[in-house]
Symmetry: C2
DNA sequence: CGTCTTTGTATTATATTATGATACTAGGTA
DNA sequence: TACCTAGTATCATAATATAATACAAAGACG
């Protein structure tokens, strides 16, 4: 951030974003001093930036504790994002159908750097909070959706992803072995869908099919998550898989070329 | 914005936010010149700010058309917001239950200035895109949820809201008459729930119950929307209402005091 | 097919504006 | 009550945003 000495780069704005990004899942309410510590900015700068964000409605401030927290504006941005992404609109009815039919969470995931991002989630009967909220990011290599997407990429891109992209222990069963991941993706390419066991959530099977563009390359995937206890492999195979594949295939032909085929790789949030 | 000559106010940051806010539902992809026109900033400023937002990952830029659009970071902010709002976590299982049971969209709405904001939405069988996405804002006075919330407020606050808050023609059936709205809210206070016909969506009945805090004042409401054709008043009364009231009442006792009871009235997005 | 217009990109001297050290104030704790 | 911590306010200084302008590239048009 500080390195960008470009005159086309407004440092004050970047620092403001730094303050916004100081908040995360585990730090949802921050005092001025905490904010300063997390951003690395001094007290004065933090004070000025946080105050500006407060005045502009990007942060709420508890009148008693003086602590800051994300404001409704953060949700408002998601609203605009949803309208900006045509794929979500295309996918929504299919996801609702899927969720209703299977009783499981139906997700649309997009590739975002070397992670996947849930951009749309329809909860099923047993879903709980964490699996209903959009915006979650997971390393692509350790998720069914990520592997489904990667399986459609040219061999060289795929190889590079497998060799260099983030792997991270999410659960005790998360596979970190890149060779094994590579073989798994090869298999996905053959069979047309990805299936993972407890990679992102213990006791759950993830099933995902890529949503391919006109060039047969995917940047998104339909994904469902099933409790392994009530959904043994055979049942998934018979009852769920056809519908997931159908949903992904139903969306695919409507994907315009160009819009997703050139994602900008850049600093990740 | 420009008026704030305070030294605790960072103009460059505020202008950056102005650029972000230039995007909305109907303008999801903007060129540099459009951005300049919408923000009122000159070409140079817009260039610098947009470029900074791009470098920091807040905006994507189409390499061909050079047009900017919201990035995945916009969704990421929603993710953090969800974790920051304990009410959403409390409400989620109830909303899922409601939605599954009734087959209708189940929403949690919060008051946000003189609007309500959908902070959580679980789609039902027939839901379509627009009613599945969070972050939508509607004038509180013209929605069942807004009226349900207002009905719990002290008489003076209520009267002032009815007299001064925004009313806006959303559908052809939207009521703009403040006296009529006032009477409707009085009725809501008596019966404990709000019911509206086609106020926000033609052919749909909205039903909402307030989620009250320890002081019996509400800042949020559970709301469901029913197609009037298949859900005549009597059916809603018998089959839906009890569950909606139950859901709202189930959430209420868990609402901590203080957290919602002092919303900061400030510039709205 | 070449000209014209529009839109995006890059540069620079200038003065506006962010900076951060410091002093002040209030709330909580011992 | 005295002390400490954390938030708030002020101000001289220098850093940095500014906006005018020039350049480049891409479409539009005859």
């Amino acid at each position: 951030m500080a390195e960008k000495q470009n005159t086309l780069y407004v440092g004050a704005l970047a620092k403001g974003l730094l303050v916004l990004r100081a908040f995360d899942k585990t730090a949802t309410e921050l005092s001025l001093t905490e904010l300063a510590a997390r951003t690395g900015l001094d007290k004065s700068a933090t004070q000025r930036l946080a105050n500006t964000l407060f005045v502009e409605g990007m942060l709420d401030k508890d009148p008693k504790t003086k602590r800051f927290r994300p404001s409704h504006a953060w949700l408002r941005m998601a609203y605009t994002y949803f309208w900006s992404n045509p794929l979500i609109q295309l996918a929504m009815p299919r996801l609702i159908e899927l969720s209703q039919h299977l009783g499981a969470t139906a997700n649309l995931a997009e590739i975002s750097g070397d992670h996947i991002l849930y951009v749309s989630r329809i909860p099923g009967k047993t879903s709980h909070f964490a699996s209903t909220i959009v915006g979650r990011r997971l390393p692509a290599l350790t998720t069914a959706a990520g592997r489904a997407i990667l399986s459609t990429w040219p061999a060289t891109d795929r190889a590079q992803a497998v060799a260099t992209w983030t792997v991270e222990q999410i659960t005790s069963q998360t596979t970190l072995d890149r060779d094994e991941i590579g073989r798994a993706i090869d298999q996905v390419a053959d069979q047309g869908y990805a299936e993972t066991q407890g990679q992102a959530m213990l006791g759950h099977t993830g099933v995902s099919a890529p949503v391919v563009g006109p060039d047969n390359v995917a940047f998104a995937a339909v994904q469902c998550s099933f409790p392994s206890r009530t959904w043994p492999a055979a049942r998934i195979q018979e009852e769920a898989l056809p519908h997931i594949l159908e949903a992904a295939n139903a969306i695919a032909p409507q994907v315009r070329p160009g819009r997703y085929t050139d994602e900008v790789g850049r600093l990740q949030v």
